[in-house]
Subunit: 459 residues, 2 copies
């Protein structure tokens, strides 16, 4: 950290505020718009699907018992809450199954903090679908730019970026829905940015999902407070005692604003095909592929997988005692890939985490890490009882930037997660609305489509 580096980068927060406040409606390329729609589609399906998860109901009941009614929907329910609390509950719900979206370079899951913040205020203020999409695209871009500014060592130090950088994205999205000017948006970024938090020690507990929930909520509050004249530090990203320098030993401030509005990081957002930490997805693909070469799992005597070192950093739990912890176990990921041929929410239940067969196969897995293996790459080598070996190499994981899910695959995923709550037809309708978001006169059409009507009617 040098004084020169800081002053050369002065004004980053102001530039981001200007970007959010002044960008014209739809002022981004078609690919960014498409990414924004998919980010919304993925998030609303996940939130609706998680409406009955214990972590979600605990938060929803807490705030609704202590507070009053509001004008923003809890997705997948008929509950309406004050905007910041709806953002909180939906933020938890999007993230709680670890099945959301990912910007792999920064390991930010932007949909969980950004979409609930934008959606709650859009519904509260009866914004249009276009306004909602603008807020999601710009808010996501800000979250990713700030994450890049914090640099990779922010992650290494132990921060969960979906919580930290998520605060900036949620505040930017909320400020955009409110139509705040540049100066007020800068205050909103300051008010939210100083609350940026989320420790990696929370991974494996329900509190991990609270990180984006709180980011969404704090972003909404920050924008509303700024609109009332509440002041925050308008150099919160780049100041010496601001976000980047306090939380990272090696900030990379340049990428925060370089080619801002020309190159769109939001286009690099990807969507998880598997319900666990994304860094294990290449290993799951490898396990799924090798399955075709193995007659029966009982023939397997040893499994080696080669992955990028980040995998053991964040998913190194060897013998997870419950479903939540199993999402942070590359050993479990490989085992269910091989045993079940799947890695959906069902594979990360308490039952599967503690089943005899998964525990036995997990014990066979050896993980080798290598910096030369990319984050979306893996290899697997399986030794069989007959003395032979099988190998497979995954160049790019499914759902990665190089091999993105199609819109149809995204809809299939939405059916998988939200079908049990909304019904499959309703999920298809919800995703269709999200994928033409800017045509909606009322953003609330989307939230209305995420209510469990059919179930209510059936009662």
């Amino acid at each position: 950290m040098t004084t020169a580096a800081i002053s050369a980068d002065a004004g980053i927060t102001e530039q981001l505020a200007e970007f959010v406040a002044a960008r014209p409606a739809g002022g981004y390329p078609p690919a960014a718009a498409h990414a924004g729609r998919r980010t919304v589609a993925n998030a609303v399906a996940l939130a609706a699907g998680a409406a009955r998860h214990q972590a979600v109901t605990a938060v929803a009941e807490l705030v609704s018992e202590l507070g009053g009614d509001g004008s923003a929907s809890v997705l997948g329910t008929d509950m309406q809450l004050p905007a910041q609390w709806a953002a909180l509950v939906n933020g938890v719900a999007v993230h709680v199954e670890d099945f959301d979206d990912t910007h792999l370079e920064t390991v930010v899951h932007p949909g969980a903090p950004v979409v609930p913040a934008a959606l709650a205020l859009a519904e509260h203020l009866d914004a249009t679908g276009r306004e909602l999409l603008d807020a999601v695209v710009l808010g996501t871009e800000v979250a990713l730019r700030v994450a890049m500014a914090a640099g990779p060592r922010h992650f290494d130090r132990g921060w969960h970026l979906t919580g930290t950088a998520g605060h900036f994205g949620a505040a930017a999205a909320a400020a955009r829905v409110l139509g705040l000017d540049r100066e007020t948006t800068g205050n909103a970024l300051g008010i939210a940015g100083t609350q940026a938090a989320g420790l990696q020690v929370a991974l494996g507990s329900m509190t991990k999902a609270l990180h984006p929930g709180k980011a969404a909520m704090n972003g909404v509050e920050a924008a509303l407070l700024a609109a009332r004249g509440f002041t925050g530090p308008t150099d919160v990203v780049e100041a010496r005692r601001g976000f980047a320098f306090v939380t990272s030993p090696d900030p990379h401030l340049g990428p925060a604003t370089s080619e801002l509005g020309e190159r769109w990081e939001v286009e690099r957002n990807t969507f998880k095909p598997y319900a666990c930490g994304i860094v294990s997805h290449p290993a799951i693909d490898a396990a799924l592929a090798i399955r075709g070469y193995v007659r029966s799992p009982s023939d397997v005597v040893a499994i080696s997988v080669g992955v990028n070192p980040i995998v053991l950093d964040v998913m190194g739990v060897e013998d997870p005692p419950d479903g939540l912890q199993s999402k942070f176990s590359v050993y479990h990921c490989v085992a269910v890939g091989l045993l079940d041929g799947a890695a959906g929410p069902a594979q990360y239940s308490d039952e599967r985490a503690t089943a005899d067969d998964t525990r036995a196969v997990r014990r066979l897995v050896t993980v080798e890490t290598d910096d030369a293996i990319a984050r979306d790459e893996a290899w697997i080598r399986v030794s069989l009882a007959d003395g032979t070996e099988r190998e497979h190499h995954v160049e790019h994981a499914r759902g990665s930037e190089a091999r993105p899910l199609t819109d149809d695959e995204l809809r299939d995923k939405a059916r998988l997660v939200a079908g049990p709550v909304l019904g499959e037809h309703a999920v298809d309708a919800l995703i269709a609305l999200a994928l033409r978001l800017e045509e909606l006169q009322h953003a609330s059409t989307l939230t209305a489509a995420a209510r469990p009507h059919s179930r209510k009617a059936a009662k």
Copy 2:
């Protein structure tokens, strides 16, 4: 950071949780009880006095417009809000004038996060005065212990400890009021601890006061969530990717639990006599003392003050443009001490910050820093127009641990801050209640006494 150091300190969070959950009612020495009562008295007076501050009304109006009624009081008003929102507003209010309490070793202002959290839940649950005092004493102790664990370099890195360590204290206090067991208290500390935040860049904006407000609110929420089975990391303080190691390059984990329950850090909490950052208080004392040797401020041609280096670190603003910034200017502190013979809220108004006389005297001040000068020590040397000099040395600042405010001085301070809102007789009654807190059958007697009854009656 070594693995050995971490494993040797495993279980700190659990030990703190055990301390909070298992300590018997009143299980602390008389000096700790006295400190707890004074912490409450000081906080409620400050909060009531700040009820009409713009930062406080902005937050109160935001949450009350979006949410519903509740059962916890906003001090100094007739407003009742949901418990976590009352904690938020009162937390902002206690801190907004920078006139609250301080544990000087860690520069934590524990009353602002801890008292509002305990008070809101105590009122919500109709707890006794004894239960409230227990929660404040134990919560304050936890805040200070965690601050010590983060070590001095946590502060140096740019964290505002009243926000960061405040989260732990507020959660501990809230858990105690709820009567949570050890395990659930551990979850509450984890849920709150991962939200610990507050960047020093926010000093000088309204957002500084939001730090303890959010700590209080997040602590209340964390305890309520934990009570509903929401899980958090129960090793949040000491884990490798937990609070101390992520936020500090040099944690001192030992003091977190050494002689816990035997030596009481809460006894070292002190109460500010001046309405600005505490590190400038010795310099103010010096200016007030030298005033007796100066016929007229216009005779002064130069002023040198010697202080501990931390003063320029946090209060180095040379020409503050408004009242808020003037609280972070040792130059302004010395100037008003010399000109006005006082350093109360009136000295940190926008008017005084920009007045010609204060600006002129500020320009005469040279600050010399010296590690050999203690944090509660200062000297001043004034050069007069006739060529003579006057010097004064302050060994221990007024209000410091070595020279604490008496209960009478604390009541006088309460009159100064809360008198304009409640009236002086009502303030005296409020302080008298706080100073015999454990005798109250209902903690809500205290909050009722902080309502502006007399003003209402007079209307």
